[in-house]
Symmetry: C2
Subunit: 446 residues, 2 copies
């Protein structure tokens, strides 16, 4: 129903400004940078995601005649000339894009994506780029914490039903996998992105049968090799005792409620006694990184976790302060840098690059934000050219590549930053030239 490449997937002011630029003959090339201004209190880093989704939109964005007619009928455009509507009908994105590859670990203030294009074009795509990068980065950043808390045990993303709509569920599944989850319950995400999918049965399967015993027996009959039985519909311990007594050995059992610590320890004990050491114990039910960490610290006997709502909605920080700011305007051969100076909302001017310095062991030491045309230091440049003049410079990257990048970067992140329970800051410096430019512009304003 939603035409995902529509140019109307934007805020109205992007279109009024575009009309304004065209009507006043402002033929400038503008650079905007997308970044997260401040991290939420409970985040020490972000995991960049949603870039591929954003680029796909830029490749395909356009307006249908019907959509342009709709705009023509809006009172706000009453005095705007036909030229604007013709421009919309012919609209394609012709700009340059540099971005951090997905799976990059990044910090507040660092440009994650940089667009240089005719100003009206660069402006028009703001809303979609933010929406795409914000959601997936939000969920990937949360997922990295959940995966960290699980300390090597697989985490499956289960949040599609409580994500903010089914598309958010699909995107959350992808972001969670990218950041280290073992897979998802969302089948469309599996189909579309090749993510492993997991899931066996719900309480309703058990409730629909005359008895739990018959429900289990029938399920095992259809799925003899892949049955993780949900044992807590009525009484988890009685269900496990019955399985053992009846010799109906499942692949795993799932606890979705109750006292996961006590029940998992009891279950492991009984399963061992029965000689079922290989029956895996899977836990779910309102889990997040904090609860997982507490369960494991207390000695819970859990082999894998399903995490839903908290992961797919990033419930303890459901938004990042992601913004898309004008940093440069080129017009008739002249370059003007743009910045904001209010203390809470300062933004640095100029096209930028982010460099990452590592120590001898490969651990991240510090990042440097510098002007893109400064001599590059001997460090990794995080922003990579993705589009030149509206054409992709590299094919879409396999999701596994991004996932592996994320895994390696999280390993290289100093341990204090990986902790889920404590605030820690990572050093991000601005280059002297960048600081000088900022100060010069500020003084110029006064």
């Amino acid at each position: 129903m939603l035409h995902s490449f529509s140019g109307l997937l934007t805020d109205l002011y992007e279109l009024t400004m575009a009309a304004g630029y065209l009507e006043t003959g402002m033929e400038a090339e503008a650079t905007f940078e997308l970044f997260v201004r401040h991290l939420p209190r409970k985040r020490n880093y972000i995991v960049v995601a949603g870039i591929e989704h954003a680029l796909t939109y830029l490749e395909h964005v356009q307006f249908t005649p019907e959509e342009v007619d709709y705009l023509r009928r809006q009172p706000v455009f009453r005095h705007v000339s036909q030229r604007f509507f013709d421009w919309l009908l012919a609209f394609r994105f012709h700009g340059d894009v540099w971005a951090m590859p997905e799976g990059t670990v990044a910090f507040a203030g660092e440009p994650l994506l940089r667009v240089t294009a005719p100003i009206a074009e660069a402006q028009l795509v703001e809303t979609y780029l933010l929406a795409a990068v914000h959601l997936e980065t939000l969920v990937a950043s949360k997922a990295a914490r959940v995966v960290t808390a699980a300390a090597g045990r697989p985490v499956v993303e289960f949040g599609s039903r409580r994500a903010h709509g089914i598309e958010a569920g699909v995107r959350a599944a992808r972001a969670a996998y990218l950041a280290g989850c073992a897979g998802t319950s969302n089948v469309w995400a599996g189909f579309r992105f090749g993510i492993p999918v997991f899931g066996t049965l719900a309480h309703s399967w058990v409730m629909a049968h005359p008895s739990e015993s018959e429900a289990f027996r029938r399920f095992l009959q259809v799925f003899p090799e892949a049955a993780t039985l949900l044992v807590d519909t009525y009484d988890a311990r009685r269900a496990i005792e019955r399985l053992i007594a009846e010799g109906e050995k499942p692949t795993g059992i799932r606890l979705d409620s109750g006292n996961l610590l006590r029940d998992s320890r009891w279950a492991r004990h009984r399963l061992r006694q029965a000689g079922w050491e290989d029956v895996r114990i899977f836990a779910s039910g309102d889990l997040d990184e904090y609860r997982i960490a507490r369960l494991l610290a207390a000695g819970a006997e859990i082999d894998a976790f399903g995490v839903g709502t908290a992961l797919a909605t990033s419930s303890d920080a459901p938004a990042l302060g992601a913004i898309y700011k004008l940093v440069e305007v080129r017009r008739g051969g002249r370059v003007r840098n743009a910045a904001k100076f209010s203390p809470a909302k300062a933004t640095f001017p100029g096209r930028k690059q982010v460099y990452r310095f590592r120590d001898a062991a490969g651990q991240f030491r510090e990042d440097l934000i510098a002007l893109a045309d400064e001599p590059a230091p001997a460090a990794e440049a995080l922003l990579v050219e993705m589009f030149r003049a509206g054409r992709r410079m590299c094919p879409p990257e396999p999701l596994e590549t991004a996932r592996e990048r994320c895994r390696q970067q999280l390993q290289a992140l100093p341990a204090r930053l990986r902790r889920i329970d404590r605030r820690a800051a990572y050093p991000v410096r601005h280059s002297p030239r960048l600081r000088k430019l900022f100060e010069r512009l500020r003084r110029g304003l006064r």
Copy 2:
């Protein structure tokens, strides 16, 4: 990119259970009810939304051959017979649906939507129905609070960039309008749903011009009748003084940062002195119902509000405990009611209806949840027949009708429940027959 009617937009366990029902010859008709188990701490009621979206999915859901092939390749389905894949290829939703019309004010535990269908069908659509109803109900419920706080002043939904992806932004725009917002910045939502769209210019417009003065002049030239000028890019007071000095009268001014209380009062004072009483003052920037209420209580001079992130993500309660529970199974003429009994997660059995009793003044007095086949009391039945045997029983309702319903219901809600700052409970009773059935089933289990 997202095929919105794909049957794969579901959790894997819905498909394994469907395969299980088919393979074991479970030819039953099942009834599931969708409801919110508990309200978040800061919600006294919910506003039902997303029903129309859910029904549209039910009308169109199907599987492509490519999608079915994908499932066939999944190891979990290795032992499943061809019958299941043929069933998927022919899949259509043939069930009955009763639901509360959008805009209905509802409470925890009340079925918002009830599906009766062959069990595998009813199960398969669970994830999508939850995702659709959850998101829009979540945002509509938040929007009702924001609109209440604004006390008659228009509120415009501005959250597309921070909503959980652009589709969530479109859905949030619709839900917010339904619950009383005056409109949205999301143009696609305007195009698709006929919602009024708002927006004029961003800081980037000002920053792209050599001076703020020139930026304003050019914008007024293109939009002489519809220019709300954003005045806080550099210094809001200086910008307002300059507009007055230059005689460049806009339709309105927008404050997006700084001290909204002091600046709005100062701005009103200066605009009045200039004889510009009709220049409206619009405020935005990290607003929510709490901040709006505080601003107005303190005497802020604000005529309209733009609310973004907090509204589109329902940031103080980014999820509702929405669930979809099996309540009845009919098989070979026999009816079995299904319920859960664990104290924290009890669900009542049987197909239900919700009745609303009002006092003489039309205010809501209490709701009664009863079995659908009980004699109806003299009260409004909230669940309405939407689908019979897979066919819609009524055409889609105009969004304005749902919006007006919401407006009337919020007026009829006791004032203590409408308050944004205090928890208040509304009486929801269960009928004696329903309680008796629940107790009978519970005893039967022991």
